[in-house]
Structures are given as C-alpha cells and as structure tokens.
C-alpha cells in the first residue's frame, strides 16, 4: 500500500500531494514534508546524491512497513531523488494520510528521521571551489532514539 519512488527526475511536490490525497478514502489528515536543496554557505551550486540501488528500496520499504505497523495510517508515500540537484529544487518528499492528525504527523516525522540516517543516500555539496561530502550529524542519529 505505501508508495515509493527513487528517481533522478525532478518531481512536482504539490502535484504529488494532490494525487496522494485524491487516492485516499476516509482519511481526515494528510501531512507532507518536502526537502529542498538549501544554500547554507552562500556558494552552493548543486547537490550530488549517490545511493545504493537495491538496498535503498529495501531500506525504505522496511521503514514504511514499520510506520504502517506503528500508526493508524491510510497510506504513505516516499519520493527520493539521486544524481545532481540544483539549489532550490526538491530533493525528496514524504506524505502520510491518517484518520487523525497526530498519526499523520508522527508517522511523517518518523519516516524523515529514518530516511536521514538509515536509507543509503550520501550527499555531496558542489561549489565553485570543489566538492565535499556532507557529514552525518549527531543530532540526526540522536533523533532515532525517540522512536
């Protein structure tokens, strides 16, 4: 039931949200998260995202199954891009639908926390000066402890 797409192509977050919402029945609450390439230092040109084909899908499907087993969800969606993504463009999105808002919110946060640290993606920041791998952050690993 949950939907997963791993792709290089840009996607339309609003269009995906509408399709996801229209495919629900009896769900009062829909939550979405979109991650956008953010130029923190002022010199970022793009993000290069590498992933582990095969394991990526397995890991995310297992995260989705866990979310569905923990919360009263009607459905969930994960879209994650890899390859080169320019500043301002969407990297990924998560959507959840539930009868009640607290399930939709918690499941979306859970999915995000696990995608950050347990799905095999690696980000490289490309600037005019060169390119550097983004270091994993302790607070992302710590965020898993609350679930």
């Amino acid at each position: 039931m949950p939907k997963l797409r791993v792709q290089t192509e840009e996607f339309d977050a609003g269009g995906e949200l509408n399709l996801f919402t229209q495919s629900q029945f009896g769900m009062g609450a829909v939550v979405s998260f979109s991650g956008i390439v953010r130029d923190v230092t002022g010199g970022l040109q793009s993000l290069e995202i590498e992933h582990y084909p095969g394991m990526t899908e397995r890991a995310i499907e297992s995260i989705l199954a866990e979310a569905v087993s923990r919360w009263d969800l009607g459905d969930a969606l994960v879209i994650h891009r890899y390859g080169s993504i320019p500043v301002g463009a969407p990297i990924m999105m998560v959507a959840t639908a539930a009868p009640h808002r607290s399930d939709a919110f918690q499941a979306a946060e859970f999915l995000m926390d696990y995608l950050k640290s347990r799905a095999p993606f690696w980000k490289k920041e490309v600037t005019r000066q060169g390119a550097d791998w983004v270091a994993a952050q302790d607070h992302d690993e710590d965020a898993l402890k609350r679930w």
Partner: protein, 83 residues
C-alpha cells in the same frame, strides 16, 4: 568464496572503484576489512577510521563482527545522509 564488495561516497573515491569481486576466506566483516587493508595503501587509508564506516551485508545494515557465511554482497560506506 567469492563476494561482491561495494564502496560508496568517499570510500568509493579513496579506493578508486565502486565494486569488485573478492575471493576470500574471511569469516567476518572485520576479517574482510583486514584482508583489504593489507592489499594496498588506498584500502588501508579508506578503512583507517572504522568509526566513520558503515557496513551492509546482502543489503542489510550490520556490524563489523557479522559473519560472512552465505553472504553474497558486502558494502562499505560512510554514515548515511539522506532526506
């Protein structure tokens, strides 16, 4: 046994390749890492700080003391930064 060994992100860059077939008798991931480090400097360097290396056996995240019996694919990579 023959294993597919995969490297991602800066491990791939330091070692200079993304995938190779390795003939080994290593019983655990740690044994395999020791064999690889003994091969060449670029492997030794890539695996010099194991605290910043993660491992998956047959596409499941695991630990360095995991056994390799029945394993077909071992992947090494830095901590993940998805989302």
């Amino acid at each position: 046994m023959k294993l597919d060994v995969l490297y991602f992100a800066w491990l791939r860059e330091r070692i200079g390749l993304g995938q190779e077939c390795v003939e080994t008798n290593a019983e655990t991931v740690s044994d395999l890492v020791e064999e690889l480090r003994a091969r060449e400097d670029r492997y030794d360097l890539a695996f010099s700080d194991l605290a910043s290396v993660r491992v998956a056996v047959d596409q499941e995240l695991t630990s360095f003391d995991a056994p390799l019996s029945d394993a077909r694919e071992v992947a090494f990579f830095p901590p993940m930064t998805g989302g």
